[in-house]
C-alpha cells in the first residue's frame, strides 16, 4: 500500500465521519426545535387527536396479536426451563417480569414502528416532495408545529398505553398457556406474580416506552421531513426510518437496562 492509497483511505473515512456528525447534529437540532415548539401556543389539538388515532388506536390490533402470542410463547419456553429446576410455580412472575421490563415496551415499539412509523415517514415525505411543507411555510405557519409536534406528543401518549395493553394481554396469554394448557393452578400464577413484581419494574417499562415513543416519532418525522427527491427519495427515507428506529430502540433499551435503571 502506498502512502497515496493510505491518505485516500483516511480521507474517505474522514468524509464519512464528518457526514455522520453533520447528520447527527441536524437530527438533534430538529428534535430540539420540536421539543421547544411543544410548549409554545397555539396548540394543535385536532392534529394531535388525529395522530393519537393514527399511532395509537389503529395499532391496537397488531399490539393485541403480538402481545398475546408473545405471552404464550414465552410461557411455553419458560415453563420447560423452570421445570428442569422444579420451580414451575414461578412461571407467573417470570412471564410478567420479562414482558413488563423488556418485551412489552420493545416489541410494542417495534410493531408501531413497522405499522405506523413507516407510514408517518411516507406521509411527511410526500408532503415534502409535493411542496405541501413549503406551502405551510409560505403561509407563515410553522411546519414543525403542524406536522412534527403532534406526532411526538401523540407518541408520548400512545406508546405507554399500547405497552400497557401489550403487557396485560401478554400476561393473560401466558396464563392461558400455563394454566389452561399446561395445567398450573391459576392461584399460583397470579399470587407469585404479586410477590415478585415491584412498582419499580413497572416504572422501568413506563420509562422505556416513553423514550421509545420519542425515538420512533423523532426518527420517522426527521426522515420524512428531510426526504430526498421523488418517489425514490420517499421510499429510501421510509426504509431508513424503520431501520434506524429499530436499531435505536434496541440500543437504547440495552443502555437504559444496564446503566440507568438497574
Amino acid at each position: 500500500m502506498t502512502i497515496y492509497d493510505m491518505t485516500a483511505c483516511v480521507r474517505l473515512i474522514g468524509a464519512w465521519f464528518l457526514g455522520l456528525l453533520r447528520e447527527l447534529g441536524r437530527m438533534f437540532l430538529f428534535l430540539l426545535d420540536a421539543l421547544v415548539t411543544i410548549f409554545r401556543p397555539p396548540f394543535k389539538f385536532k392534529m394531535l387527536m388525529r395522530q393519537i388515532r393514527f399511532l395509537g388506536s389503529k395499532s391496537m390490533v397488531v399490539i393485541l396479536l403480538t402481545g398475546s402470542f408473545t405471552g404464550m410463547v414465552l410461557a411455553l419456553q419458560i415453563y420447560y426451563t423452570l421445570r428442569k429446576f422444579g420451580s414451575e410455580a414461578l412461571l407467573g412472575p417470570a412471564v410478567a417480569l420479562s414482558i413488563i421490563r423488556e418485551l412489552g415496551p420493545v416489541l410494542s415499539a417495534l410493531m408501531v414502528t413497522g405499522r405506523a412509523g413507516s407510514a408517518l415517514t411516507a406521509e411527511i415525505g410526500i408532503m415534502k416532495i409535493t411542496e405541501q411543507i413549503d406551502a405551510l411555510t409560505s403561509m407563515a405557519l410553522n411546519p414543525i408545529r403542524y406536522l412534527i409536534v403532534p406526532n411526538i406528543v401523540a407518541a408520548l401518549i400512545a406508546f405507554p398505553l399500547l405497552t400497557a395493553i401489550f403487557d396485560l394481554i401478554g400476561i393473560y396469554g401466558g396464563y392461558f398457556v400455563g394454566v389452561k394448557l399446561l395445567g398450573m393452578s391459576s392461584g399460583t400464577y397470579f399470587s407469585q406474580m404479586e410477590t415478585f413484581l415491584k412498582m419499580e419494574d413497572i416504572r422501568v417499562g413506563l420509562y422505556k416506552s416513553l423514550s421509545f415513543g420519542v425515538i420512533v416519532s423523532w426518527v420517522c418525522c426527521y426522515k420524512g421531513y428531510f426526504t430526498g427527491y421523488g418517489a425514490e427519495g420517499v421510499s429510501k427515507a421510509t426504509t431508513s426510518a424503520v431501520v434506524l428506529s429499530s436499531v435505536l430502540i434496541l440500543i437504547w433499551d440495552y443502555f437504559l437496562g444496564s446503566v440507568l435503571l438497574r
Binding site: 388525529r50 409535493t130 411542496e131 405541501q132 413549503d134 406551502a135 411555510t137 409560505s138 403561509m139 405557519l141
Partner: protein, 248 residues
C-alpha cells in the same frame, strides 16, 4: 414592490442564479419565462424565504428579507399568496378545508364569515360542487384552481404563481389565465407569474422577463418582447432549435 438585486444561488457545484436583477412595481403582473430547469422555481422560493441566497438582496416593500428570519420573516410572508407548481394542496384536507385553511389559521374570522368567503372563492374558480372532495379525487386542472382560490382567499398584496397552467388543456389554461386577469383586476395584487405559455401569457402579464443562464436577460412589455431583436428571446419565444440557446 419587489426588488431583486444581484441574486446568486448555487447547489453544490451547480450555479443556478448568477446575479439576477428584477423589479416588480406595485400592482404590476410580471411574467418570468425561461427554460425548464433554469431556476424559475428557485427564484420564486427565494421571494418567500424558503430558499436562502448565497449573495444578493430581495427587497419586499423596501425590507430586505435575506437578512431576517423568525417572526419578522413571517410578517412578510403574510403578505404573500403562493400557487405552487403542482398546487401543493394539503391532501389530508378537503377542497373546502384547503381553501379555508389560511383563514382558519391566520385570522380571527367567525365561522360564518369564513364559510361565506370560501364559498365565494369556490364559485370564483367554478368549483362550487367540489368542496367535499379530497385533492386526490379531483383532476390536475381542478387542483390548480383550488390552489389559486387558496392563495387568493386572504386577499394578499403579492401573489406568486409557479406555472399555474402547465400540463393542462388549452381551454382550462385560458380559463385559468382569465381567472388570474379577473382577480388581478378585482384585488389589484402585485404578481409574479412563472409560465411556459407563449404567446398566451403575453395577454395576461403587464411585463415579461426572460431568465437565461441565471440572470434576467431582457424585460419589457409584451409588445416589445414580440418584436425583440435579442436572439435569445427570439429563439425562445419561437421555440426554434436553431439559435444561441444551449439546451439544458
Amino acid at each position: 414592490m419587489i426588488e431583486i438585486v444581484n441574486l446568486k444561488k448555487g447547489f453544490g457545484k451547480q450555479r443556478v442564479l448568477n446575479g439576477l436583477n428584477l423589479k416588480v412595481l406595485n400592482k404590476e403582473l410580471v411574467a418570468v419565462i425561461g427554460q425548464s430547469g433554469g431556476g424559475k422555481s428557485v427564484l420564486l422560493k427565494h421571494l418567500i424565504g424558503i430558499i436562502r441566497p448565497d449573495e444578493g438582496k430581495i427587497l419586499i416593500e423596501g425590507v430586505d428579507i435575506t437578512g431576517v428570519g423568525g417572526k419578522e420573516l413571517d410578517r412578510v410572508r403574510e403578505r404573500f399568496g403562493v400557487v405552487f407548481q403542482e398546487g401543493a394542496l394539503f391532501d389530508s384536507l378537503t377542497v373546502y378545508e384547503n381553501i379555508a385553511f389560511p383563514l382558519r389559521e391566520k385570522t380571527r374570522m367567525e365561522k360564518y364569515e369564513i364559510e361565506a368567503r370560501v364559498i365565494q372563492g369556490l364559485e370564483d374558480v367554478g368549483l362550487r360542487e367540489m368542496g367535499d372532495k379530497y385533492p386526490a379525487e379531483i383532476s390536475g386542472g381542478m387542483k390548480r384552481r383550488v390552489a389559486l382560490a387558496r392563495a387568493l382567499i386572504t386577499e394578499p398584496a403579492i401573489v406568486l404563481f409557479d406555472e399555474p397552467t402547465t400540463g393542462l388543456d388549452p381551454i382550462i389554461s385560458s380559463s385559468i389565465h382569465k381567472l388570474i386577469t379577473k382577480t388581478h383586476k378585482k384585488y389589484g395584487f402585485t404578481g409574479l407569474i412563472i409560465s411556459h405559455e407563449i404567446p398566451e401569457i403575453f395577454e395576461v402579464a403587464d411585463k415579461i422577463a426572460m431568465l437565461y443562464n441565471g440572470t434576467i436577460i431582457e424585460t419589457g412589455h409584451p409588445e416589445e418582447f414580440r418584436h425583440s431583436d435579442n436572439p435569445y428571446v427570439r429563439q425562445f419565444i419561437s421555440g426554434s432549435l436553431e439559435g444561441p440557446i444551449e439546451l439544458l
